[in-house]
Amino acid sequence: MPEFQFDGVADFLSMGGYALFVWASYGFFAVVMGFNLWLPYRQRVKVLRLLQARQARQQEQSPIGSDAGQQQRAQQQQGEAH
């Protein structure tokens, strides 16, 4: 088994004097990879919301099968009868 190369947490964080370079690199890496993973999840929510709104709109426009549409059609028929 490989052994831990540092004497405690402070020594680990100091990275043998290269703390700035090593942690800046790993920090940037973590932020960018986190963003890479977060973005598609965020977009999935956006896409699903967009498509849901689109479906809802379509049901209003082509009223077959929806309650609102049936009322609308009934009103239209009444209007034509008069």
Binding site: P2, Q5, F6, F28, F29, N36, L37, L48, L51
Partner: protein, 255 residues
């Protein structure tokens, strides 16, 4: 085997096949990455010349080569889109651009922070560094060009053409350290290509972080492509049913 590939060309099959695959891929990716990075940062022995600074290798090398291989995938998909007019290929190509650019940026950034203590400078117009910077610009250019058209099909075609033109940059990056005798060392001298040059204590963690990042590349591209499929196939019956199902399960919160 061929039938399996053929099916991946259908947006619906691509979506269905990846649904069960994504959680497993995510779990394996996380495991490999955490193992590789913890090992590399804390347990691999320090380099006899560069001390602990060399630990940047565990993210620098895989992101740099990842940036190239993502481009190879993007170009292959662009070619398949141009030749066979394969819809899924274009969606995968579109999904490659951002993660490719981000890998390029990380490779350049980590390289700068490795170069400062080792070479004495964050940046130099070395052949390998410059050609990698050009790769970043090509990625950004492909993304910009795709959105520059009113019609999606025109954008796809233009992006495919630019992607294929940009392939000329890849061998330049890959062989830069051999063709020009500038600052960036050849990969074999780091022992990544030639295992005998460095002890296994150093390259085994790189193996883990490397495969972890390959997993992450595929994970992110698959997730992006799935979104793209839903968006482009929105008129298809199965997508409409899926959207209704997501609404019923309140997957996206209250819109």
């Amino acid at each position: 085997m061929w039938q399996w590939f053929y099916k991946l060309g259908s947006p619906r099959h691509f979506y269905d096949m990846t649904t069960g695959f994504v959680p497993w891929l995510a779990a394996v990716t996380l495991l490999l990455l955490v193992t590789g990075l913890v090992w590399g940062l804390g347990f691999a022995p320090p380099d006899y010349q560069m001390g602990d600074n060399y630990r940047i290798i565990y993210i620098h090398v895989p992101t740099a080569s990842g940036a190239i291989w993502i481009y190879v995938m993007m170009a292959t998909m662009a070619a398949m889109h141009m030749i066979w007019n394969l819809k899924v290929a274009d969606m995968v190509a579109k999904s490659c651009a951002l993660i490719g650019a981000s890998f390029c940026a990380v490779a350049l950034f980590t390289g700068a922070f490795w170069g400062k203590p080792t070479w004495g400078t964050y940046w130099i117009w070395d052949a390998k560094l410059t050609s990698t910077l050009i790769l970043l610009f090509v990625y950004v250019g492909v993304m910009a060009l795709r959105t520059a058209f009113d019609s999606d099909t025109a954008g796809s075609k233009a992006a495919s053409v630019l992607t294929l033109v940009g392939v000329v940059n890849l061998p330049i990056i890959y062989y830069a350290a051999y063709w020009w005798n500038t600052l960036h060392q050849r990969s074999s001298e780091l022992g990544v290509r030639d295992a005998s040059a460095n002890p296994p204590e150093i390259w085994i963690p790189a193996f883990f972080s490397g495969f972890g990042l390959i997993g992450l590349i595929f994970l992110v591209i698959i997730l992006h492509t799935r979104n793209e499929i839903l968006l482009r196939e929105r008129r298809a019956q199965w997508v409409q049913e899926l959207v209704q199902q997501a609404a019923a399960q309140n997957e996206v919160g209250n819109a």
